[in-house]
Symmetry: C2
Amino acid sequence: MNKIAGQPRIEEVARRAGVSSATVSRFFSRRDLVSDKTAERIKKVADELGYRPNRLAGSLVTKRSRLVALLVPALTDSPFNAMIEAIVDALGERGYTAMLGLTGNRDETMDRVIDTALGLRVDGIIVTGVIADTATRDALRSANVTVVETWGLPEKPIDCAVGFSHHEMGRMTARFVHRRGYERPLIVAARGSRAGARRDGFLAEWSKLGAGESEEIEVEIPYGFGQARSVFRQMRSLETQPDVVVCGSDAFAMGIVVEAGRAGLSVPDDLAVVGLGNQPIAGDMRPSITTIAIDGGRIGQEAAKLFHDRAEGNEDGQHIIDVGFQLIERESA
Amino acid sequence: MNKIAGQPRIEEVARRAGVSSATVSRFFSRRDLVSDKTAERIKKVADELGYRPNRLAGSLVTKRSRLVALLVPALTDSPFNAMIEAIVDALGERGYTAMLGLTGNRDETMDRVIDTALGLRVDGIIVTGVIADTATRDALRSANVTVVETWGLPEKPIDCAVGFSHHEMGRMTARFVHRRGYERPLIVAARGSRAGARRDGFLAEWSKLGAGESEEIEVEIPYGFGQARSVFRQMRSLETQPDVVVCGSDAFAMGIVVEAGRAGLSVPDDLAVVGLGNQPIAGDMRPSITTIAIDGGRIGQEAAKLFHDRAEGNEDGQHIIDVGFQLIERESA
DNA sequence: TGCACAAATGATAACGCTTGCATAACGAAG
DNA sequence: CTTCGTTATGCAAGCGTTATCATTTGTGCA
């Protein structure tokens, strides 16, 4: 309204509506407690004044900020965006607001982001991936916020978790590759625990199946299409050429497909490719990419629900939700 | 520390450090006002207690939340992610926290998100794209928050803006297409003002160049690869076949390329394709996609800077920043 | 008409911090 | 050893809400 006077306060609304501030407060938080007649008056005045309760003040006394920190490593070319969208939506429906924290891949940034979140007295923190650092885990445990870890299933979650088993995903991939008759898989894995778990799962199952050798190339971040080029070159210089490449992302898989094409290799006959993530584009590619679908939206919804349940004091109920994953068999393998 | 007692308060820290709460407050906000000796004591106690100033309480008195609302239509397959990352980073460096609001494409959702932002008394709002609704614009203008509009250059910005001229982009595209000798462009544009401005710019320049006919197909959202299929079919049923397709995104352009390939058309000889956005993948595709690069990161940085300048009371200085764009000529056109 | 009980409203004390003003401590000059 | 100018600290009044408890108003029924 008036820049100098700042925003209108509840007191002002109360005065003009001829009621006490308590009643105005009730009107906004528990509408059913005020009579229709006064409610109408309050609404009218509030609209005129453009009054909006100050949540900072409110949260101070209720000790509930209705703020949730959303920690994600990155946004560009990230497989988490569907989950983030789902979380923001589901949280919004429940009256919570998401603050976005980009953690990158460094523990330090992660700590800084958690710090600001805690300073804001967020009601909860939803983390993309499992927090590795033990000190951080402990700090969080004692911070009186509910923490939801996603996209993985830690043995001992800080609080609760929703995701899937990367190890199991690796095993399933191995079974699939074996069933298809491929004999010399190349695993392209990123550094990091998630990719590591998939690789370990793959190798465990692979050796259990009594299958032959397998190669492995470690890359920085396997999300990118571009990185495929150098990895492909690396692959070509291996002694025994693999007959299938197991990738950490669809984009990367597509990169391998393109490179294979340029090298005169036909996919999947000369070289098969398995992606990860089931991005829409993977199905539209020619050849279409065989991949593993993870329902990010589902993870997000469950995470928001889990958070909300606990925030409402529902301590019981499931702490760990396995949303699983699904192999999508297409042309590339 | 102690769940029952809740988080430690400033008073507790003060007591244990043998100072007044005012001194502790100063230690956290204006370190230089506190002597080294007491500072050390305070730090020690604060660390032991795990004390972290409650920003809700602080903001209540300073009337500065150090919160900025970031309004984006979507995250998945969105060209804005680089900008969002840049904004969150740049804001974080300056001590601000970003809250994420997904506006979708409906005014109603936009209003709801703005409402929660205003309720949180955010210091600023950074909007992706220009806000169309006049009522919302007015509400924002009188809400005493600095608003930065991005990704476009409105005639009369609410407050300030950083982006580029979609109209000019359309014109440049027309000149390029003409220079390359194409004669029958097909424009695939989304509903909406941004795409509309590009189309208008294209048509204006195209007719100015005295070039021939041009066709247009309107789609819902042109970001997706998948949508290319139906549009391609639509295109094939046109009376005169276009020799170049001007797309609203790289993903869409890639979809057209793939469809063209399946239909036996060679790109760019039988059909040329121009993308938009310069996603990494566009350069790695075969054929590589000719596209227009927009520096989302730059937009983000400038937006954060602009916001910060104004939040600090720097009313003067530029209100509108044109970051331009760049045509990347590659194989597809 | 009066009474009991429910519904609606009011008064007021927090919530945890910041900041202007007042006071105390400390050096450097005189 | 004063005196004065810094530099460090303390006091206390808010900031704009909500929640508890008390009080008033309204309603159905004897």
